[in-house]
Symmetry: C2
Subunit: 245 residues, 2 copies
């Protein structure tokens, strides 16, 4: 698709995030074409005239990473005039939470161009780090994607302790331990949490209204004492409260 001047286009850009061994990962691909050729970019796609942005984002995700039952959430819409040198392109950003075990086999498939980067933030600047430790500077990111990533990360961090988005990174929301959940929170917030306090927080918040229930304790992997497994009823609870600058 070649954009025309004097016309206005909409794209969706995906913030595909996952948590692997205590680290928050973001998926980027290297641009093969100008503009911004060779730079790292969020996967994106133009929105067609016959589809909603949600549908466009869903289709793009299905093409690139056919994960079952993906969790998508609109983050923000970026409409600066000069954000795309090709012309007038408005970008709607969607945040997608994927459990790492579902993502990992898809990433190693031959056709995949997506690569994962460890995502953190230092003050206002985001930090993206390669598997080898090499970091991607904000200047190496295409368009205004650094800003989009920053917005998405702040959104995720802001929502994690009052919405269910943290649970969407769990391999199996019907059988997880509190330790696994804590690991997700620590990866997202990039800080260590007190295990005992975290347990109290989660249980008091979700077990009170019966959405979090103990399931039969199975024998589990890992070193220490085996953990009780829980299940979250993904009810349509009131989950709208706070927002972006």
């Amino acid at each position: 698709m070649e954009p025309e001047r004097d016309r206005l286009y909409i794209t969706v850009d995906l913030l595909i995030m996952t948590v692997r061994s205590g680290q928050l990962l973001l998926l980027l691909s290297r641009r093969k074409r100008p503009p911004c050729e060779g730079m790292w970019a969020l996967p994106g796609r133009f929105v067609g005239a016959e589809e909603s942005a949600e549908e466009a984002a869903g289709k793009l995700l299905a093409e690139m990473l056919p994960v079952p039952d993906p969790f998508m959430e609109q983050v923000y819409t970026f409409s600066d005039v000069a954000r795309d040198p090709r012309g007038r392109v408005v970008s709607m950003a969607y945040l997608i939470s994927v459990p790492w075990p579902k993502l990992e086999p898809l990433l190693s498939e031959p056709g995949t161009i997506l690569r994962s980067f460890h995502l953190t933030a230092e003050g206002e600047r985001i930090c993206l780090t390669d598997e080898s430790g090499a970091s991607v500077a904000e200047e190496e990111l295409a368009f205004d994607h650094a800003r989009i990533i920053r917005t998405g990360l702040m959104r995720l961090r802001g929502k994690i302790d009052y919405s269910e988005i943290g649970f969407r990174f769990l391999e199996d929301p019907d059988a997880f331990s509190l330790g696994e959940l804590q690991s997700v929170f620590e990866a997202v917030l990039d800080s260590r949490l007190d295990t005992s306090n975290f347990r109290r927080f989660i249980l008091s918040r979700y077990q009170r209204d019966g959405r979090l229930s103990e399931i039969c304790k199975e024998e589990k992997r890992g070193r220490g004492r085996p953990a009780v497994l829980y299940r979250l009823e993904t009810g349509n609870h009131a989950e709208n409260r706070r927002e972006e600058k």
Copy 2:
């Protein structure tokens, strides 16, 4: 402007809100043209190819209601395929907080087509009430504007107790009493608050870091004991935390 088929358009729709005597008001205008002729609608405008959505929203506001230093905030972007019968129109909603004393003279000017409605919510449904008590049903609202209004109201309510948005409804952010601020909160939340607890909440939150400071006590209108006046430093504090469903 006449939309073409097979093309995609972007509009901004404004949620202009104010607080008058303890009530939250929203501005609507009656549509003069099809589609949705005769129905109540949010003021809106197409986004041109040479302007950002923020600029478009600012221009529209300046044309219709030239309030000084308006406070705008992007709420959400609505992109359902069938939301506009003319074709493919994506709407970006902006929330605008205006002090009633600045708004009132503009509303009574001859050219103004905007009218104010008392906005509340009963569960999932919004309630819009005329000055005379007559209510506007969700079905009398154009397009998907009922949904947009609902999203905006929830956003406002969710942010009011941790962001500075409540202060933007005050006539003078450099000289207000806690009673005036409480009245704003009560209007937005549509519930009564305990005066003493509200005072403690605001002072502990904003006075601690020096952003809220007492100013010299002027003689003031009203009945009871005269109030101490405060001033808020509208610093660029971290105000991004939580978001929409």
